[in-house]
């Protein structure tokens, strides 16, 4: 293994909850707080501790030169805090990191743009902010402009740019940085599909050049494409470091104890859904009519979503999103895909409903799948979304062609009709 360029030893970051909530303190707050804590000091020292949270704790890892490491985890797990420490934006509360080489970060596009300055001026300014030398900026200038596709507007103030143009320009500058270590945080969450593809392509190219990259994203497909190894961060700790496919698998499956069934009880459902819609449960139903976490690929099974409406909703459509445990989408289907069904249910009156979908036999391959659910009035509003609602496994022991024991590629393994003809003599 190559020499590590990043070596983190037991780093932790503690935040004060009070100041996080209020944003910033006024002088009066401080005086009041100081007076209060002076009075209280003897009585409850312990209370002070509950005002702090550890966003990151005991994090140790190494990254070898040229490695592209993914970082995944739920929101608030501490991924961004970790990158901020590596980028020296914020100091760790404990522990240390040894970094060899120049660190560049691609944290959020558009930071450091000044709306009054032209595209040309902003490229120079932003480059300098990101740590590029003047000569370097000059050399790459044309390349950046070309990548951003803003040649015509290069001398127009950036405030007249469309959001898309600003985004492209910002990414272009950052992507042409040449640090030895590049930190990338969720930059792909913005922009249209074409732009995202372009960014991914550029990042792939950067990785090819042998630079070390740390890549934080919720986009599992992107993580899977760009990285070979990934760490999973949860609750401020590294819970796993493994080859990417395994890590993604772990992350997507983690926290889905009730595999095969997902129940949204009271508060949990109400918190993430918009009234009058209330999700109740999502289930995988086997051929025997019972909830199951494992189905045979050779038999048909059902996916059902139970929900309640407090008032009638017009144009409601319930969708199921199936993806593999690596995050690749398999299919999307809606309960009102049939125009007749849609017309009949133009408006769904208040009440409880079950939308049930039958998955034919011999469709899916063997493996683990993740089911997401969404309820919305198309183009009007979304009532409920849970991208990783539950997971289930498929058993392919009686799938077509199972007399050959080798695993088949791809998420589907359909039984297809074959004809075998003898060519005419």
């Amino acid at each position: 293994m190559a020499e590590p360029v990043i070596r983190a030893e037991g780093i932790g970051k503690r935040y004060q909850i009070g100041s996080l909530q209020t944003g910033y303190q006024t002088l009066r707050d401080v005086m009041v707080d100081t007076a209060r804590s002076t009075l209280r000091r003897q009585s409850d020292d312990r209370k002070m501790d509950s005002n702090h949270i550890w966003a990151l704790r005991d994090v140790s890892f190494e990254v070898a030169e040229g490695q592209v490491l993914g970082i995944i985890g739920p929101n608030g797990a501490g991924k961004s805090t970790l990158l901020k420490i590596l980028a020296r934006v914020t100091e760790p509360t404990e522990g240390y990191v040894e970094v060899t080489g120049r660190v560049g970060s691609l944290l959020e596009v558009g930071t450091g743009f000044h709306p009054e300055l032209s595209g040309r001026e902003n490229i120079q300014l932003n480059g300098a902010i990101l740590g590029m030398r003047r000569a370097e900026i000059r050399r790459k200038f044309d390349e950046i402009v070309e990548f951003a596709e803003v040649e015509q507007f290069i001398d127009t103030p950036v405030k007249r740019y469309s959001t898309g143009m600003q985004l492209r320009l910002a990414f272009a500058v950052a992507a042409h940085l040449e640090p030895e270590i590049l930190l990338v945080d969720e930059v792909l969450a913005v922009g249209d599909a074409a732009f995202q593809r372009k960014c991914l392509g550029k990042m792939g190219a950067v990785a090819q050049e042998g630079r070390t990259i740390l890549f934080v994203s919720h986009n599992m497909a992107a993580i899977g494409r760009l990285t070979e190894e990934t760490i999973v961060v949860e609750g401020g700790r590294i819970v796993m470091r493994a080859p990417t496919s395994e890590a993604i698998d772990h992350y997507l499956i983690a926290g889905m104890e009730q595999v095969g069934e997902r129940v949204w009880a009271g508060d949990q459902g109400a918190g993430s859904s918009v009234p009058p819609f209330t999700p109740l449960g999502l289930r995988v139903i086997g051929p025997n009519g019972k909830v199951t976490a494992q189905v045979s690929t050779a038999e048909e099974f059902e996916l059902e979503f139970e929900y309640a409406l407090d008032e009638s909703i017009s144009g409601l459509r319930v969708g199921l999103y199936l993806s593999t445990s690596k995050g690749e989408p398999v299919f999307t289907t809606f309960d009102t895909d049939d125009p007749d069904a849609y017309r009949k249910l133009e408006s769904r009156p208040a009440g409880s409903y079950v939308s049930r979908c039958r998955i034919p036999a011999n469709l899916l391959n063997e493996g683990r799948f993740v089911l997401g659910v969404n309820a919305s009035s198309f183009g009007v509003r979304s009532y409920f979304t849970d991208e990783f609602a539950l997971s289930f496994a498929t058993d392919g022991s009686s799938a077509p062609g199972s007399h050959w024991p080798e695993p088949r590629q791809g998420p589907v393994r359909p039984a297809l009709e074959w004809e075998i003809l003898e060519a005419a003599k």
Binding site: E91, Y96, E98, L125, P157, E180
Partner: protein, 280 residues
């Protein structure tokens, strides 16, 4: 891959301790950024204004006209036997340099909030650039001062060589105050409200519209000189117009105070810097 002239450096990131690490070397490494920030401040300063850079000149000129009418003609305050307009103008130039510097730098960190929470650079470069950018305005209005002096037939004495030193001194005072206020502003937005009053009081504690010779001799003089700008404004006027006494013990008090302000400002700033991204 070409990362020119950059040696592979090993860096340790860890909780910082202590007060006495100014790390000016790093600021030097980032000098190009400081240059770009100054350039940005200068470029942006008068964007989308009708008069553009004309404001750099209009501001002191308008002040001078008002002061001449009120303090010279109506109140009849002493201008040490030189024409009121150049007396006031020569006092206003270093004062505006100081005032703009304090204003801009105290807001500099908060204004770049998004940058501060996402990219690393020596934070000192922000207030430093804000203060330095005022030099361009100063340069423009300095030309006007020369024109006025020509008009009023005032001559430059040999002591004029010292003028740049007083300008530098003014910058240092401005930066000292700016460092304190900008760092405090990150924590307490009260600073934004306090600064105008602070500057207003400071203005009257500085010999811009009157001559420092009005202050009675003795302990009051010493106390008065604790204001760094007393030394700067008096000194600049002495250098340009040859009035008042040459910098003396009192100027030394002002200078010492400036140095105290600047160094304490830097130390305080460095101390607070660690938590900027977390609390801003």
């Amino acid at each position: 891959m070409s990362v020119e002239s950059l040696p592979i450096s090993k860096r340790i990131i860890q909780p910082s301790r202590g007060w006495l690490d100014l790390n000016l070397r790093e600021l030097w490494e980032y000098r190009e950024l400081v240059y770009f920030l100054i350039w940005r401040d200068v470029k942006v300063r008068y964007k989308q204004t009708l008069f553009g850079a004309g404001w750099a000149i209009l501001k002191p000129v308008m002040g001078m006209v008002v002061f001449t009418v009120i303090f010279d003609r109506l109140a009849g305050l002493s201008t040490e036997d030189i024409p009121g307009p150049i007396f006031y103008f020569a006092g206003l130039l270093p004062w505006i340099l100081f005032q703009d510097g304090v204003n801009k730098s105290s807001a500099s960190l908060v204004a770049s909030r998004s940058l501060l929470t996402k990219v690393y650079f020596p934070r000192l470069s922000m207030p430093l650039a804000s203060v330095s950018a005022g030099l361009v305005d100063f340069g423009l209005s300095f030309l006007v001062l020369l024109g006025l002096m020509l008009y009023f037939a005032a001559t430059l004495g040999v002591q004029a060589w010292a003028a740049p030193l007083f300008v530098l001194w003014g910058l240092a005072a401005s930066l000292g105050v700016g460092l304190w206020l900008s760092a405090l502003n990150v924590l307490y937005r009260d600073v934004g409200y306090v600064t105008p009053f602070l500057l207003q009081a400071w203005f009257f504690a500085t010999p811009v519209v009157y001559s420092a010779s009005m202050i009675p001799e003795g302990p009051w003089r010493i106390l008065y000189s604790l204001n760094p700008m007393v030394g700067v404004v008096q000194g600049f006027r002495w250098a340009m117009l040859g009035i008042g006494e040459a910098p003396s013990l009192l100027a030394a008090v002002s200078l010492a105070m400036t140095i105290v302000l600047l160094i304490s400002g830097m130390l305080f700033f460095r101390r607070m810097e660690r938590s900027f991204a977390d609390v801003i």
